[in-house]
């Protein structure tokens, strides 16, 4: 009796599955049309849930309003490549017109990008690239250049040189690797040495504990370098607690609310800020052009003219960075406010 019921279920499930498969095939054969009253649908998938993405979303919405298309963003709750893949596949199934991705892990996401492109969905990357994939273009910070900018700032803060320790979520992440390489390149030939870099797997309490340990284990440390956005506040908290403010320089990336507070008080010496608003705005702008013009070269040419950014080798578009210090923080905040952003 029991086996009998099992068989019925099995047959029913198989039948349903077959119907599902058949349906899937039929829909793929219908051509995608973006003309007429159907609005262009664009999705931007971030590499995590950091508040760093807030201004990106502001820029994304602004562009969508101006162009009259539909744009949404999705933030994976963790930085797991598998989770990001799952999210992208959801939109693949929905057959959106264009996807922008901040790639968590190029080996996992790269092949998926190729698959998307083959199925007719236009893909660009932003913030973090998968350069080997078939993605059309990359918009974001050239992280090697950003690392170099940090290195230049370090030279100004430490003219005599000294030991530097780095702190990051995962030093094998492509953006971390490039920033570190750029930093090392810029300080080459000086007395500044990046001794080691510590991972915290994006756990803020661990990020702070790492700094505490370094401050105790290496009394001769001259500067702490926070490579991800939440590292800055945790470094400042640990240095403050150890009574070393002013003695150990703090150089970090991005401008989380606490980073801004510390900058205003002069407790963080400099931060390298990217332009996440531009990531969102320009990604939607470029994807929209590619989708509506149907010609990548023409889309890139128009984009170059309208945005003022240069399309580099392998279609990489560097939006650049800025160095913010206690001296220019107020002016920077005023500029953000004008765009409708609290912090980046």
């Amino acid at each position: 009796m029991r086996i009998h019921r099992c068989t019925v279920w099995l047959i029913a499930a198989t039948a349903l599955w077959l119907v599902g498969c058949a349906k899937k095939e039929t829909t793929t054969t219908t051509p995608q049309t973006t003309s007429g009253e159907k609005r262009v649908r664009i999705v931007l998938v971030t590499n995590g849930s950091s508040p760093f993405w807030d201004p990106m979303e502001v820029g994304m919405r602004r562009a969508a309003e101006e162009l009259g298309c539909e744009a949404t963003s999705r933030r994976p709750t963790t930085d797991s490549p598998a989770l990001q893949r799952q999210i992208i596949e959801e939109y693949q199934a929905q057959k959106v017109d264009g996807i922008g991705i901040s790639v968590i892990e190029s080996d996992t996401i790269g092949p998926l990008i190729d698959e998307l492109m083959n199925s007719g969905i236009k893909v660009i990357t932003f913030d973090s690239d998968a350069a080997q994939s078939k993605r059309i273009a990359y918009i974001g910070t050239n992280n090697f250049e950003a690392g170099k900018a940090a290195g230049e700032a370090a030279k100004k803060l430490l003219p005599e040189g000294g030991k530097v320790f780095g702190f990051v979520g995962n030093q094998n992440a492509p953006n971390a690797r490039e920033r570190i390489a750029g930093f090392k390149e810029a300080v080459k030939g000086t007395n500044i040495v990046l001794v080691d870099v510590f991972d915290d797997n994006k756990d803020p309490a661990k990020a702070r504990a790492n700094v505490e340990n370094v401050l105790q284990a290496h009394k001769d440390v001259k500067m702490l370098l926070g490579l991800f956005s939440y590292n800055g506040p945790q470094i400042a908290a640990a240095v403050k607690e150890a009574g070393l403010l002013g003695k150990v320089k703090i150089l970090c990336f991005d401008a989380e609310p606490e980073t801004i507070n510390h900058l205003k008080r002069g407790e963080i010496d400099a931060t390298v800020v990217q332009k996440p608003y531009e990531f969102g705005y320009r990604s939607v702008q470029l994807l929209y052009k590619i989708i509506t013009l149907g010609d990548v070269q023409k889309a890139l040419q128009e984009f170059e003219q309208e945005s003022g950014y240069k399309v580099g080798p392998n279609n990489a578009i560097d939006t650049g960075v800025e160095i913010i210090t206690p001296q220019n923080i107020e002016e920077y905040l005023k500029r953000l406010e004008a765009l409708g952003i609290k912090s980046s």
Partner: protein
């Protein structure tokens, strides 16, 4: 007499961990930067890390002893941290009111867990796994993923709040006092009260406990309630330590708590172990984590998992050998 006491100590399940812990500290302090490791500030930092983990590892130990498991403590820590800073900085509550509200909420979460487990005959694993996801997302929804700082301009209680996780009384970090108070209170509860005996009994044999007329539900409510309450307390302390409520923090801390409890003798099948063991386990984990930065000069982060995993395994093997040796002696 003294000889008998020592013999008794050697027989305890926690003995193996203490041996490993002592050997580890001796090893780290013998290395090049060992002196700095035993320096006052390093010890303060280390003891604070142990206290932060110990507080909720104790709660996890109680639930494990009661034959259950609580996977939600990690994200509950993140969420309660956000809740506490939100009440302080956004709702303008006083520190006392915020802390009490967070603790009451946390205890309520644990009681709800017990109710779901008991009334619907659900596995603790699935109930608390559900909570794990809910609290992660709840914190993100509440803050739109932006950390909530508690600076003086955000709340008049900013300094008092920061004191909880960062402050020191007589050179000893405040969380250490909190850990000691929790440890004493929960140890007394577990070893000198009827409630404690019921928790052990429940972990040993739920059916026998029920048949002997003990309310399983009430005992579970106390165990899970205590665990979530302590996670809430840890959430407040972590938020203070990080100086802001950060959604998504505390992720996977439940594994640390389980490791701390289990490495020193809590059996995952329940009924065995002690809460002080969980604190010793927390000490072991944090000595390893801090020690790595002092011993390994290059690429310390990449070594972390290997070192932690190997030492945990070695400790477990040592524990097992000790138990076998004792069984043969009997």
């Amino acid at each position: 007499m003294l000889h008998r006491e020592i013999a008794r100590l050697i027989r305890t399940r926690e003995f193996g961990v203490v041996v490993v812990l002592v050997l580890l500290v001796l090893f780290i302090s013998s290395t090049e930067r060992g002196e700095a490791f035993l320096g006052p500030i390093s010890l303060q930092n280390l003891s604070r890390q142990i206290a932060l983990l110990g507080v909720f590892a104790i709660g996890q130990a109680v639930v494990i002893i009661a034959g259950g498991i609580d996977l939600s403590v990690g994200t509950l820590i993140g969420f309660t941290g956000v809740l506490c800073t939100w009440l302080l900085a956004r709702a303008g509550w006083s520190l006392g009111a915020s802390v009490l509200a967070v603790l009451a909420f946390s205890a309520g979460v644990g009681i709800l867990h017990a109710l779901l487990i008991n009334r619907f005959r659900l596995l603790p694993f699935i109930v608390t796994l559900g909570s794990l996801f809910i609290f992660l997302s709840a914190g993100q929804l509440m803050t739109n993923n932006v950390p909530i700082p508690v600076s003086p301009q955000d709340s008049p209680y900013s300094e008092a709040f920061q004191f909880l996780g960062n402050g020191k009384i007589g050179n000893v970090p405040v969380p250490v006092y909190i850990l000691l108070a929790v440890l004493v209170a929960v140890s007394v509860l577990m070893h000198f009260t009827v409630v404690g005996r019921r928790i052990y009994a429940l972990g040993n044999n739920e059916e026998a406990t029920r048949l002997s007329g003990i309310s399983v539900l009430r005992t579970q409510m106390i165990a899970y309630g205590l665990c979530s309450l302590l996670a809430g307390l840890a959430g407040i302390l972590y938020a203070s330590y990080q100086r802001q409520g950060i959604p998504g923090s505390g992720l996977s801390y439940e594994l640390k708590a389980i490791a701390a409890a289990v490495v020193s003798g809590c059996s995952l099948s329940g009924g065995q172990g002690t809460v002080i063991g969980a604190v010793i386990g927390a000490a072991l984990l944090n000595v390893i984590l801090s020690g790595i930065s002092f011993v390994i000069q290059q690429g310390a982060s990449n070594w972390e998992g290997t070192v932690v995993g190997s030492i945990l395994l070695a400790t477990a093997i040592l524990n097992r050998l000790q138990q076998q040796w004792l069984a043969r002696k009997r």
